[in-house]
Amino acid sequence: MTSEARHPVNLSALYQQVILDHYKKPRNKGAVERAVLKKHLHNPTCGDDVEVQVSLGEDGRIDDVKWNGRGCSISMASASMMSVALKGKTLAEAQELMQSFYRMIQGEEGNYKALGEIQALSGVSKFPVRIKCATLAWHCLEEGMKEYEGGDANG
């Protein structure tokens, strides 16, 4: 019996194969060598814990992204997929990707092709309590960018 037949709650919509794959084989775990942007966030209600580190190349593009943490499959897969997607992007492009991700996860209609495999997380919008899990790594990026830009402007 498929899980769809057994479950009116569509588990497969929440946990698409690509999510389980990133959860079991996380990409880019670790620390970057010269992080210019580094943020650690914790979600105390479920214990999810993520740190994201980003380094920039001479051309101003993200040349490395690494992350570390522990938590549920949604939070871990989201961090892993984000780390893959950010490489080679400018901070402005990263910002744009992030805003697009936030809109998708809130369930807004739209074209999210630019998010690539991250679209697999669109099902999370139907599970409001899990949105925080999916956005944790992205919040690290968001706050890290704010701090970086703040520091940059001051320096």
Partner: protein, 410 residues
């Protein structure tokens, strides 16, 4: 006498529904229990038949409401073996009861250098009020060590008491995460030997087994009605009369004074002194109905039923590969917290929910304990009078389904 569970289940309308295509299995009773028709009916009867404010008004409705409200207090007093109903102070929940001790007694007496003893297994409600009071007074908190089996290290407790200056001790009768049943009577007696006062968080005890507060000899206990079939918004503080008399009220205003003048006021007798304003009349009347319900089952029988279910659940859960069960096997309260290797509680709960099985996942308002156990969160199944072995089988089946879903060998 064994509980007639099939008959009991008939009294709980909420249990007879499908959840996500499956018969609902409700195993989150340590968070709040379901309510039987008799309790719901008590609310309806009050609102349809004799809704009025209590303790004032000479008209018949007001008298009937007052009788029912005070009658509930008497039932609860009998239920816990209180010498007098006036020692039962109605609160919104267990948390409020514990805060009333902190604000009404402890903060006035705590001095720099004083020591509060509690433990790392406490619910935040039995921790943060004491931390705040200690901080305000420059007092110190010492924590009784937790042993690997989830029980408190009683020798360490002895040492902490022997170190001196212990003014106040607070611990839970039963841990809401580990299920540990602490030796209440012994721990209270030890604290009294060094002159400390003791509060027992009995929120996970009173709903599940016979309780006699005189036998415990604690100075205060806190409990919650909504964890024992009553509506939410019901809890109580029980205290020794001389301590309740010493305590300052937490709230001031109507109903709590004996006389009021422009120059000042005198407080009413207990428990009115602690119940300012119009109380939660309907819900406490229904709390009385909940106590009637439990009394008719017999608390010895309730305890035996939960004990058998928990023992069965422990056995069945132990069969699952990669599972870690927390706390001692026996004696324990009717709940089991566990971790399944490789599956975060939120993921596990999502699959269980899809299978119609409701459990609690998270830190259970015990974050320091999560740190001690070194887990971000746990899963918790908690049982009550209407749960069956067949429901535990459903839990186990769904756990195996979750393992399969996340790609682990079953």
């Amino acid at each position: 006498m064994a509980l007639d569970v099939a008959r009991i289940r008939q009294d709980f309308p909420i249990l007879h529904q499908e959840m996500n295509g499956h018969p609902l299995v409700y195993l989150d009773n340590a968070a709040t229990t379901q309510k039987p028709r008799q309790v719901i009916q008590a609310l309806v009867e009050y609102y349809e038949g004799y809704n009025a404010n209590v303790h004032r008004g000479i008209h018949t409705l007001a008298e009937r409401a007052t009788d029912a409200y005070e009658g509930a207090r008497a039932k609860i007093a009998r239920f816990i073996g209180s010498p007098s109903p006036n020692q039962v102070v109605f609160t919104r929940n267990g948390t409020e009861a514990l805060n009333m001790i902190a604000y009404g007694w402890l903060r006035q007496r705590l001095r720099p250098g004083d020591v509060i003893v509690t433990s790392g297994m406490e619910h935040h409600s039995n921790l943060i009020p004491w931390q705040q009071a200690a901080q305000a007074a420059g007092a110190q908190i010492k924590y009784i060590e937790l042993l690997p089996d989830g029980t408190l290290n009683q020798e360490h407790y002895d040492r902490l008491l022997a170190e001196g200056n212990v003014r106040f001790v607070a611990f839970s009768g039963a841990s809401n995460v580990l299920g540990t049943l602490n030796p209440i009577k012994e721990m209270v007696a030890k604290a009294h030997q060094v002159g400390a006062k003791v509060a027992v968080d009995a929120v996970q005890v009173v709903p599940h087994m016979p309780v006699n507060v005189v036998d415990w000899d604690a100075d205060w206990i806190a409990a919650a009605g909504h964890k024992m079939l009553a509506p939410t918004g019901t809890g109580f503080l029980w205290g020794k009369m001389e301590l309740l008399e010493e305590m300052e009220p937490t709230y001031f205003g109507g109903s709590m004074i004996s006389e009021a003048h422009l120059s000042g006021a005198k407080w009413a007798e207990c428990p009115a002194k602690f119940e300012a304003g119009t109380p939660n009349i309907a819900d406490f009347i229904a709390f009385g109905a909940a106590v009637d319900y439990l009394s008719s089952l017999g608390m010895e029988n309730v305890y035996a039923h939960e004990k058998a279910l928990t023992e069965y659940a422990w056995e069945r859960l132990s069969e699952i590969g990669g599972i870690r069960l927390f706390g001692p096997r026996q004696p324990r309260a009717g709940l089991i917290s566990f971790d399944v290797e490789g599956i975060h509680p939120h993921d596990l709960s999502a699959v269980l929910n899809a299978d119609g099985v409701a459990i609690r996942v998270g830190h259970h308002c015990a974050q320091p304990l999560m740190e001690i156990l070194d887990v971000p969160a746990t899963n918790r199944a908690s049982f009550y009078i209407y749960n069956t072995q067949a429901e535990i089988d459903r839990l186990v089946e769904s756990l195996l389904h979750a393992k399969e879903f996340f790609g682990y060998d079953v």
